[in-house]
Symmetry: C2
Subunit: 176 residues, 2 copies
């Protein structure tokens, strides 16, 4: 999720680490903050893997900045990660939102639709948080008001997303 954010932001324009951090914080920080001690090692990992290059820009305002640029390999890798998201990128809403935030970087409307279809398939599976045996329970069947809340909220989210997914797939030429 963090690496995807880094690649995604750098795909648009080179940035130094500090600015990158501010953008990632704006995107997902209200849900899950990014620690500096997580970001800088992640940058190093991606650099070591040849996905981004670092150019030191001496003292513009404070300590010297390291301007980060995606390499060709990095650009390819971002598109690969967007086109073939890992399982958790589809099922975990936090990670899914990061995929969505950069999905426009896939050059092909068909490839974009393919990814949306995976999320659609996941949301269409009958799943709950609570079961009687194998049967998923509905909100009305629960006594616990807090568990009822979980189902109520999840239901609303799911319905809104399904509406959006179907509409967007339609406009991508992949009606369902």
């Amino acid at each position: 999720m963090l690496e995807l954010s880094i690649l995604g932001f750098l795909y648009d324009t080179p940035l130094h680490g500090y600015e990158l951090r501010k953008r990632i914080t704006a995107l997902t920080g209200h849900v899950k903050p990014v620690a500096e001690s997580t970001l800088y090692p992640a940058i190093k990992r991606l650099e070591k893997a040849g996905l981004l290059a670092r150019e030191t820009q001496p003292g513009s305002t404070a300590a010297p900045r390291h301007v980060l640029t995606l390499t060709g390999k990095g650009r390819t890798e971002l598109r690969r990660r967007l086109a073939e998201p890992a399982g958790g990128d589809i099922t975990d809403e936090n990670r899914w939102f990061v995929v969505l935030a950069f999905l426009r970087h896939l050059p092909d409307a068909a490839a974009q639709a393919e990814v949306l279809l995976r999320r659609l398939a996941f949301l269409e599976e009958p799943a709950s948080f609570f079961y009687a045996g194998d049967r998923p329970l509905r909100a009305e069947e629960l006594d616990d008001p807090f568990r009822r809340g979980i189902l109520t909220i999840a239901r609303a989210t799911s319905e809104a997303e399904l509406r959006w997914l179907r509409a967007t797939l339609g406009s991508l030429g992949r009606g369902v």
Copy 2:
């Protein structure tokens, strides 16, 4: 999140690890699966901290089961974690849902309401995923259909949850 699930399920009734895993998988597995190699060390941690006790039950069907029971300390600790959730338990929906799933174990309606009020305060903060300077952007202001989707879905979730929170706080005697 994992530890909270373990404590939460064991609060109701003693369980062995394998059954615990099935229940955790039912609760949150469709979003984020639990690996066995994560669960068993977590159980050991909690045992070492004196929060649960283990009793070996020789060969009922297969390998010997370790039936896990919450200790008094464990019961207190669960209530403490529910009454004073960490920051991420409030902001991250995945973790928040686990808190909700077991919030009924707080014996006091006032304490339950206190926790819901923290989530309410978080949801009422004006936050977005995308900004123009400091101003949060609305879905209509974005060109990117995928980013517009993020805001559309998040908005629907937030509205549904706010409705539910206010209704539930009302019935707990803490109208807002």
